[in-house]
């Protein structure tokens, strides 16, 4: 999965890749902490919205045009891809949402209280929140929705990932219970949710569509109910011709503040986004590497419309199968790490569009450790390590090594990878061959751990170190594709799961990350850098973040 291409679906050639990628919701850690510390975060967030520089006299109305691929579904409970989620967060809503400052704030929940043991969340719903058809939203609607998301017949692929912390969800998903034990309606406007262990990231998970509220009557209209969805979001679905066009109209009654623009038009049939942008057929477009030089030239009029979007939380790496020779010897793995010059490759080959990775967690991510030394380029040391390894420094006697990469279809591999392979050849004398496979086969082989060495990336599903470290490195995790197994790391990760004190918890994760880096099951390469976006000068207040958060209601035209 080419994680660096995630986010906005702006170019036709990316849609295939993007269609397969996993959606994410993220926000920064400190903000979650604040929210939890002050359950009445809602009032402060409202104040922030009002303080935004919006000139009411010139800003109402207008049509915002963008390009997207066709969303596989508009059913919040089924969505597991970025395209669908991007649209769903504008049409539907849940208890909580993420504001433009990336803080978890109330959506339909006005505020909430967290019990002292951090297991029970009591949500107080806004009394005036309504579905698009005017029907009030109650706690019963939430209970029904959460149970529908976890019903086996709904066939959600992500319910367990996003809601699995709630007591009783696993039983419901396996068809062993009718209700979710941990979801209780106190009264029409009070909902109580109990989770299995204290988890600071639980609220952030509830901002993902799987936890959104749907209208029971609407869903029971039949399988095609999403053609006429009765959501609670800032926009209503006005027109939808699958594969061609989706039009969203503003919802003037929206409880967090009505959108400023009157309509959003998603062009779904593809096209050449750059040319469409230049021809004013789009208000926003992504920028490919091919157009970069031209746009970065200050004499190009489009240069003024070029904006930098903040990076997404991701890490690109090469995974090494710890059970496969020669990677069963940590010294060989370390040697490979020491033999590449990340800084130089990032600057010379990748035009500084990425940040060289020193560790596993991306910068800005909760528990990110800025003092990690990382693997500095040190060919001497690399050769020394190879010599000390059980395989020795005579690389002719090494077992054949193959690196597998998704996509490519026989075309040249990316230049950075070429340079890395060449460094290993020159510095260590290691010949590594490349295999390119199509994504479906790649995914299957990855999950079956058939690769000796593989090129891939990971992007956070929610902003918690657990989503990187526990998921990818615990010896019993289904997603530990490198077969990495260190009992001390396992212990630290298990401790971190239930540690309630954030600082201590992050220390545990940092210690685990340090040990993992030393053992080198990965060759961490890059964290994604800032991405360029073209935005028409008349579009104001567009939230550049790559995260899937409701952002269209804030836009206005000038």
């Amino acid at each position: 999965m080419h994680i660096t291409k995630k986010g906005l679906h702006l170019s036709f050639f990316l849609t295939l890749v993007l269609g397969l990628t996993f959606a994410l919701t993220s926000c920064n850690s400190s903000s979650i902490e604040t929210t939890i510390a002050t359950p009445t975060a809602e009032s402060s967030s409202d104040a922030k919205e009002e303080s935004q520089p919006i000139n009411k006299t010139t800003s109402e109305g207008g049509v915002f045009k963008l390009i997207s691929s066709d969303p596989p579904t508009l059913d919040p409970h089924l969505a597991s891809d970025a395209t669908s989620a991007t649209m769903i967060v504008e049409i539907f809503g849940g208890l909580v949402t993420i504001n433009p400052d990336l803080e978890v704030v109330g959506d339909i929940a006005k505020n909430w209280e967290i019990s002292l043991d951090r297991l029970t969340y009591t949500f107080f719903l806004r009394e005036h929140a309504v579905f698009h058809n005017g029907k009030p939203v109650t706690a019963h609607d939430f209970k029904w929705s959460l149970e529908r998301a976890c019903d086996t017949l709904t066939e959600s692929l992500v319910a367990e990932q996003y809601l699995g912390d709630i007591v009783g969800v696993k039983a419901k998903l396996r068809g062993k219970a009718r209700d979710i034990k941990g979801v209780r309606v106190i009264d029409d406007h009070t909902l109580q949710i109990t989770i299995d262990q204290p988890k600071t990231y639980f609220l952030a998970k509830l901002t993902y569509p799987t936890a959104f509220v749907v209208d029971k009557n609407n869903v029971e209209e039949g399988k095609r109910w999403t053609r006429n969805p009765n959501g609670t979001g800032p926009f209503k679905l006005k027109e939808y011709t699958p594969g061609e066009l989706m039009v969203l109209g503003s919802n003037p009654e929206y409880h967090l503040g009505a959108p400023h623009i009157s309509e959003v038009r998603y062009l779904l049939s593809g096209g050449t986004s750059m040319l469409m942008y230049e021809n004013d057929e789009l208000d926003i477009a992504g920028v490919g590497l091919a157009d970069m030089d031209r746009l970065l030239d200050p004499s190009n009029p489009l240069n003024k419309e070029l904006h930098k979007a903040p990076p997404s939380f991701s890490t690109t790496y090469i995974g090494l199968n710890n059970n496969d020779p020669p990677f069963d010897d940590p010294k060989v793995r370390q040697a490979l790490n020491f033999a590449i010059n990340r800084q130089e490759i990032a600057s010379l080959v990748l035009a500084d569009l990425v940040h060289p990775a020193k560790g596993i967690l991306p910068p800005g991510f909760p528990a990110y450790n800025s003092s990690l030394p990382g693997y500095e380029y040190n060919p001497e040391k690399a050769r020394q390590l190879l010599k000390e390894s059980t395989y020795g420094d005579d690389t002719n006697k090494y077992p054949p090594i193959m690196l597998t990469k998704a996509g490519g279809f026989g075309a040249a591999v990316s230049l950075d990878l070429e340079v890395i392979l060449e460094s290993w050849r020159q510095e260590l004398g290691l010949e590594i061959s490349i295999q390119q496979t199509e994504f479906a086969s790649y995914l299957q082989d990855l999950h079956k751990r058939r690769f000796q060495m593989f090129d891939i990336g990971w992007i956070a599903d929610y902003p918690d170190p657990e989503n990187f470290l526990d998921l990818l490195f615990h010896s019993t995790s289904d997603n530990n594709h490198t077969n990495y197994n260190n009992p001390i790391v396992d212990d630290l990760l298990v401790q971190a799961r239930t540690e309630t004190e954030t600082e201590k918890r992050y220390q545990l994760y940092q210690e685990a990350e340090r040990l993992i880096l030393y053992d080198s099951p990965w060759i961490p390469l890059w964290h994604s850098g800032e991405q360029y976006i073209l935005l028409k000068p008349w579009v104001k207040n567009y939230n550049m973040s790559q995260l899937i958060v409701p952002k269209l209601r804030f836009i206005y035209f000038d």
Binding site: T21, S80, T152, L157, S269, L443
Partner: protein, 308 residues
């Protein structure tokens, strides 16, 4: 003749059954799984297994096949894996019609320019006109879509600003012009060369000399005696290429943002959306059967000596 057509039609179901069975087996034994792909890079094998069971993917492949055939006969082609609230029929029908219209427009361009041009250069065989025109058409045939599409887009869309860059409005909308040109231009060269060769072959036949000898006008000789006979191989090529209209064109559709079948097909292959793949195979196979039959019947009218 009627007997021949009936015999041919009787074979069709058997052919379609074989084709779908092969598609089914390839899907089942090939790598990749639609449910796993839907879940993405994050994997939870238990969830994947549960949904595979729910969708009947864990059953014996032949049982699945029989079920498929039973519902396909009633017109139910199943539901997409990826587009979770849509039936295959719904996903495909509109897009096939779009691709077919675009394909027809492209074919018209190829035929209306290619055939007359072919006859013309055949009559001028060996002169500089012949060489120049054949070279020009060859040049255009050699241009890949990656060049023609962006060129047309920049030229007509951005510089002249007379054609919209993206979208689809049907056969009589200006937005069909550029994609139809991109798809039709390579066909011009092919048809010109084919018509030229075929006409040259006919020109040296005895019956052409006879026609002239008995004093027929040049126009009658050319249209009734030369072109009609020269058309037989051309007719075969055009007839069969009509079957490919329903296949769509992934790249061209992508450049111009046309909601055709090509992009859906590629997407279905990559996401292992078996119900869509099988339905497309069925439709394309049927289209070939029908086109073949039409071509065979057409021969009889072009050349009454051909009998079945």
């Amino acid at each position: 003749m009627a007997g021949y057509i009936l015999r041919r039609l009787a074979w069709t179901p058997i052919l379609l059954l074989t084709v779908t069975l092969i598609t089914f087996l390839l899907g089942s034994y090939g790598p990749g799984d639609p449910v796993e792909l839907l879940q993405g890079q994050y994997s939870n094998p238990e969830v994947v297994q549960r949904i595979r069971e729910q969708r009947g993917l864990d059953r014996n492949i032949f049982v699945q096949y029989v079920h498929y055939v039973q519902s396909a006969v009633t017109g139910d082609l199943g539901e997409s894996f990826k587009y979770r609230d849509r039936t295959v029929k719904e996903l495909i029908s509109k897009r096939i019609w779009v691709s077919a219209q675009l394909g027809m427009a492209a074919s018209l361009i190829s035929i209306l320019i290619g055939i007359p041009l072919g006859v013309y250069v055949a009559l001028k065989q060996g002169t500089w006109v012949d060489i120049t025109i054949v070279s020009i058409t060859l040049f255009f045939m050699s241009l890949p879509v990656f060049i023609t599409a962006p060129f047309l887009l920049i030229f007509f869309g951005l510089w002249l600003g007379i054609l919209p860059i993206q979208g689809w409005g049907g056969f009589f909308d200006t937005r069909i012009i550029m994609p139809a040109l991109v798809l039709g231009i390579p066909g011009i060269a092919m048809l010109t060369r084919l018509t030229r060769a075929s006409t040259l072959d006919v020109l040296s036949q005895d019956y052409v000399r006879t026609a002239r000898a008995k004093g027929l006008g040049e126009f009658v000789v050319r249209s009734r005696h030369i072109l009609r006979n020269a058309l037989i191989p051309i007719f075969t090529v055009i007839g069969l290429s009509l079957a490919t209209l329903v296949e769509g064109s992934f790249i061209t559709e992508g450049y111009f943002g046309i909601p055709g079948i090509g992009s859906l097909a590629i997407e279905a292959f990559f996401s292992r959306d078996y119900p869509i793949i099988t339905a497309l195979v069925l439709i394309i196979a049927s289209a070939f059967v029908i086109a073949n039959l039409i071509v065979d019947i057409g021969y009889h009218f072009l050349d009454p000596r051909i009998r079945y």
